[in-house]
Amino acid sequence: MSISLYRKYRPVRFEDVIGQDHVTRTLVNAIKQDRVSHAYLFAGPRGTGKTTTAKILAMSLNCEAGQGTATISPDGSCSRCQAIRRGQSLDVIEIDAASNRGIDDIRDIRDNSHFAPVEGRMKVYIVDEVHMLTTEAFNALLKILEEPPAHVIFILATTEPHKVLPTILSRCQRFDFRRPTLAEVCNVLKGVAAREGIEVSENTLAVIARSAAGSFRDAIGTLDQLASYCESAISLQDALALLGVAEQDLLFELVDIVAEGNTKEALLFVERLAQNGADFNQFMRDMLGHLRDLYVVRHTENAPAGLAATQERLESLRSQANRNATGELVHFIDSIGEAQRAVRQGADPRLELEVVLIRLTQPRADQSLRGIAARLEKLEAGGGWDHRPPGTTGPPVAASPGERTGAASAPPGEGSQPTTERLSSSETVKAADPTPLPPTSPEVEGQQVPLTIDHIKRAWGVLLERIKGRRPGLHAVVAEGKPDALEEGTLVIRFPHGMDFQAGQLESPENALLMAEELQALTGRRLHVVPRVSSAGERQPQEEAAQEHVRILRTSELIEHLQKEFGARLIDDGTTS
């Protein structure tokens, strides 16, 4: 039998532990200065070197090369080191806390730990998967962990430190193992491949490393499997096939299809995947990764290293990212995330993927808030509107894909030039409806659109929330008032009769400054705030507000557009009247 590569190439020296310098340096220094603690907790994701480091530490404490003291470079070949590596040392006790999780198992440790070590210097207890201990077992461990005999060291290792009792944590020196970078995993793989005489290209190694998601064990295990799967050299094709990783071209293709809004193509695409025997779970995972890359590329000048293996890919990512609005990408990501959740609950992955694609390519079939937000953003970005006469704007079910025209859903095949398409359609309808949509996002507002009191009124709730977060006292005061008028950079806030105190509060310089700051953050304008108190005879703003509310809803262009765009109806839910 050939031993698994990940066991064969388990590091035996501190310098060989890759990517955990913060851990190994501390341990080496502790050994040098003879300040080795009696309890360590190694936490971190799977396959990052926790058990390995624990074994190395055990070796360095017991190695014959140290001649009676701890050494920072155990030779790994003396009888004691060999025994430790094989897990047969009498002094280094490796305990699987997951299968020995009861209080009796811990009592055994407690009772035995008092005996002196048999051959080595120190007795080392390596308690792996320590998060699985029962609460009673943890508590039984507390005393011995706090003050163990001088010859005993505990090393606890776990992937889930949050499940470990805080009383345990406070008795240990904790080391958090971090996920190694792509490059570090690649280097280790390269070393293993060279020593095993496996022929493999850099690109293939990158694919393996990426799919291992920061776990050395996964990465080396995959290399092992590929080596036994392929005759001599590992090709990229083999690696992709065995890992089930979707080819990049497919991911690019599907995003383009969705951007074009071509439902038929999308469904045929899924059929093609199925015929090629794709694993839809894996495909959705890869798609998420791809969308995330697009997202990152879109928002960074210089893409972070390791994002794209080649310059060529980076270029295609960038061009695709520029063709898709952020909101659409986010909506895509959300939808796939939703589908993955459903699949975990037992839904059929293919059906879920198809439903997602139909929703994404048929915006009218997507009634979710996210979907509507994504459509809004597309509209804002394109500046065009799908203006159909109100008569045809029935409920979405009545709209057949054949008559979909305009900007909201670019007709199939013309997605490559979406901007020109949108512009022309918006021009043709400009005469019919010249009112632009009041912008909803602050960046846009800051640029050219005149700010009106309606904006402030709509943003009032948000403004109050933000003030509440910064100064609750001021919130209580401002909440009594209502925005009344906006004239020349001055916002008038009206308070009901008799609230002179509240109005006065608003005039203090620091409150006024805070209000102005928040208003600027929301609207992008520097506004001066002036409180005004209603006189006794004036109508109470409260009643007014109710009517005002309705008025805003009716007159607001946003609502009009919502009605046109989405067939929205104005519903009186009782609270406004």
Binding site: E129, Q225, N276, L351
Partner: protein, 381 residues
């Protein structure tokens, strides 16, 4: 990719259809020395379990899977002394089963050179069980081999998955499936093709459709109900629920008959009253479990069948007829599918999904089915 499954292996893995990648991986492992743990993962009904036992036979056979010797024969039927099967006890694999396995793995094999552990439905391991398995799975005794089988690998602990070599299984491609049905059951080419499309790469469902009249009837029932639903009145929907319940009843009856047969068989061997009462008890538990499983399978069939129908309607409405699953109903689908109703079809599918989720919480069967039918109808309006 070079398929390297030699003559020996192709006979060994004869029951596995259309999985060249998995068979190459397993075949290579037999020829060039195996790792200590494999995870066979992929959708239901594509032959993972068969492959697992065939692989076990290969590991136990002195000739690496000659397919003729006693070792191979016994291993493939799962009764080899050095082959241990761990399957869920009830609904999950418990920590005690894993502890037993860990102890057992430390023993030397009896006859063969290795001991092989086949763990079926590995994703049902409870969290303590999976954690207890980790150490053994990472560094087992040199003679132990683990073959994990799972149709939902994402539900396994990542720490378990990372200790295994993954052997991916896929839905059987329609072409391979059709060829298999044609050669094994002598179907005409177009029938085999239609069946392959209907089964959507689920080998065992395709075979059941081929040789079982009742499976075919159930499918027709579900599809005709789904088709009728949009025009059905209140009373008719009640009638539909009756029909579905009757179908579930038939399935339960079949399951019960099967268990009773086995029980009679066992009872013949039970010598005294004590043994008989033990058999009684064991079969009582089993009967209950099988009944539940039969109802669950029936419900799944109804839900996924009707969701599949509306999925096909949506696909036809979107103009992608090539991807229809229920190929034999294409004419009806064309008749019924309305492009304008696309979003309603999605709603119906969502309603089916919600119903499926509801069934995880021990709800009343009939009540939930009626609710599903009504909410589907509502979504269509």
């Amino acid at each position: 990719m070079t398929p390297l499954v030699g003559a020996v292996d192709s006979a060994l893995f004869g029951n596995v259809v259309g999985q060249p990648l998995a068979l190459t991986v397993l075949g290579q492992a037999l020829q060039r020395g195996s790792a200590h743990a494999y995870l066979l993962h992929g959708p239901r009904g594509v032959g993972k379990t068969d492959a697992a036992y065939a692989f076990a036979a290969g590991l136990l056979c002195p000739d690496g899977g000659c397919c003729h010797c006693d070792h191979c024969r016994r291993a493939r039927s799962g009764v080899h002394v050095d082959l241990e099967t761990v399957a869920p006890d009830g609904s999950s694999i418990l920590i005690d089963q894993i502890r037993q396995l860990t102890l057992d793995a430390a023993m030397r094999p009896y006859e063969a050179a290795r001991r092989v552990y086949v763990i079926l439905e590995a994703e049902t391991m409870t969290e303590p069980a999976a954690n207890a398995f980790l150490k053994t799975l990472e560094e087992p005794p040199s003679h132990a081999r683990f073959v994990l089988v799972s149709s939902a690998p994402e539900r396994l602990l990542p720490t378990v998955v990372s200790r295994c070599q993954r052997v991916p299984f896929f839905r059987t491609p329609a072409k391979a499936l059709a060829a298999h049905l044609g050669s094994r059951y002598g179907l005409r080419a177009e029938d085999a093709w239609a069946l392959a499309r209907v089964a959507q790469g689920d080998l065992s469902y395709a075979e059941a459709l081929t040789h079982s009249q009742s499976v075919r009837e159930d499918r027709v029932l579900v599809l005709s109900l789904a088709r009728e639903l949009p025009s059905a009145g209140f009373a008719r929907v009640q009638g539909m629920a009756d029909e579905v319940m009757a179908m579930l009843g038939r399935r339960v009856a079949a399951a019960v008959a099967c268990v009773e047969d086995q029980k009679t068989c066992e009872m013949e061997w039970a010598a005294d009253a004590r043994a008989r009462s033990r058999v009684e008890k064991a079969f009582d538990v089993r009967l209950r479990r099988e009944k539940r499983a039969a109802v669950q399978a029936g419900i799944d069939h109804v839900i996924s069948g009707s969701a599949g129908w509306f999925r096909d309607l949506a696909v036809v409405a979107a103009g992608a007829e090539e991807t229809v699953h229920n190929f034999d109903y294409l004419a009806e689908l064309r008749e019924d599918g309305l492009p304008g109703l696309l979003s309603s079809y999605l709603e119906v599918i969502a309603a089916a999904k919600r119903t499926k989720e509801r069934f995880r919480y021990n709800v009343d069967t009939r009540c939930s089915l009626e609710h599903m039918l009504f909410s589907m109808k509502e979504a269509l309006l």
